[in-house]
Symmetry: C2
């Protein structure tokens, strides 16, 4: 792997460039973005050179698509003519089935391997890029078939994923989308719906004084921008609908049993799941060298 083209040099793309360099990548990193973004990316040292898409693709052994999901889909549909045979195309989109499907239809000259780094920050843009963004973070890879992880370009890419401190995890695109509909998209909608419900039912500022840290944590994701979530909702609609349906059914069930002993069991189940998740987090934190964990609103 001698030349990497990062298409969309924002927080994730910029961080990937910085992380590669920190991990000892000695090749060339090309950036494809708007002129103003390329300038900032060059200043940050996240890329070595800005180029138009077609030129960058002609040189790249690894094409890293870190655009918004809808742009990734467009890029995949158009880049085939310029890809180097034997190169690897990957992406960092937060939903995978639509992206992998588009790649299967459009990419033939090169190998495509979908990816989703579970990393991010509250603030976006290459100016927020951080070489340690992926440290200790799960990096999901979504081969159409497991054998796709065993090709030479895939093996080399996975080595670099590990080198930047991330923890690769292989899932099918469908499995990935089902899991994130529960672990990421459902929490997002639930927080947005909570904020929207409260906005309609709480009056003067003093009502907000009757709120503690519990509300603030539960509602934190409500700050997430629609710009990112619109794409996620449109590319994982079925799974999100199913997750919401299951969640609403659970809420209706709780509502019907507010005063019954059933609630004790539900709290018990919830307590146990929360402990499992906390334990998981503790393991990750131990693996992580960073002092402050980054937030991931912006990446879904």
């Amino acid at each position: 792997m001698e030349t990497v083209a990062i298409v969309g040099v924002g927080l994730i793309g910029g961080s990937f460039g910085l992380a590669l360099k920190k991990a000892g990548f000695a090749g060339k990193i090309l950036g494809v973005s708007a002129p103003g973004t390329l300038e900032k990316a060059l200043e940050r040292g996240a890329i070595d050179q800005g180029l138009p898409l077609e030129q960058a693709l002609q040189h790249a052994d690894l094409v890293y698509l870190s655009q918004p999901i809808s742009r990734i889909l467009e890029t995949l549909a158009s880049i085939e003519p310029w890809l180097r045979p034997g190169s690897l195309v990957t992406d960092a989109g937060s939903t995978k089935a639509k992206i992998v499907g588009q790649a299967q239809r459009s990419i033939h000259q090169a190998q495509f391997l979908g990816g989703h780094p579970l990393a991010g920050k509250e603030r976006r843009g290459v100016q927020e890029a951080d070489p340690d963004l992926f440290l200790g973070r799960t990096y999901v890879l979504t081969p159409g078939d497991p054998s796709e992880l065993e090709t030479a370009p895939a093996c080399e890419f996975i080595q670099w994923v590990k080198a930047i401190g991330a923890v690769p995890l292989s899932l099918s695109p469908q499995e990935h989308d089902r899991i994130v509909s529960l672990t990421s998209h459902l929490p997002q909608l639930l927080a947005s719906a909570l904020a929207s419900t409260l906005a309609g039912r709480l009056g003067p500022a003093e009502h907000l004084q009757v709120a503690g840290p519990g509300l603030r944590d539960t509602i934190r994701l409500a700050s997430s921008p629609y710009d990112i979530w619109g794409d996620i909702l449109k590319t994982n609609t079925c799974e999100i609908e199913a997750a919401l349906a299951a969640y609403v059914a659970k809420l209706e069930d709780l509502r019907a049993h507010l005063c019954s002993e059933r609630m004790r069991q539900e709290f018990q189940i919830a307590n146990e799941f929360a402990s499992r998740l906390k334990q998981q987090h503790t393991c990750e934190s131990t693996a992580q060298v960073r002092s402050t964990p980054s937030l991931e609103e912006s990446t879904g």
Copy 2:
């Protein structure tokens, strides 16, 4: 105010004792609790003496009920014969209408004034008591009629509420219960329901790796114990049902519009509410001297 009886010397009661002393209260603080708890409370210096309920009441100018809600209701129903005429009875329960109603039926010798300090910690018990627990925190008072705040014992109590660093806010019991059903009880049920839904739909441990800080924050309240929440659910059932119904309706609405432009507006409304709440929090933090904000799972 020369003698205070704290009935239920746990986290809140113990902290109230410590906070009074730190604020310069020179009178006597009596504690009513199980023998083991009284021992710990004496060690911590949260009380000066442990006494049986009836004896403590006979000496107290201020009776501070910081038991679980169901115990507060029982205590209110039985203490009338031992109360000093002219004394003030208050409580720290997280729901107010049932408690104020019980007090109106049972307390005649003394004045009753309901209260709800929005303060707490993840861990309970007098060993966690903290003289700074109330610093910068809203302390809701729920008079049946506003004139109840103007009696001599009420004025003196409110002075002490301010002296321990809390910010008094007057609401009717019904108004309080409606607001906390939205700002506290709804977030709790929503987090419990999320944890319970995920527990039923996520399989092996590796699925938990596909979760970021967003999920952890949204689900944090799911660790709350039923021991506290059972009472809250049973004493604020109607308001909680109404809050849940509004929330479920909002979720159903979002589910029907996942891919439409309506979602952009909903995110916009949610973004704005989240900003308002953050701003409120920033104001509180500025008012607060403490370095780490306490959590309030345990107090609802």
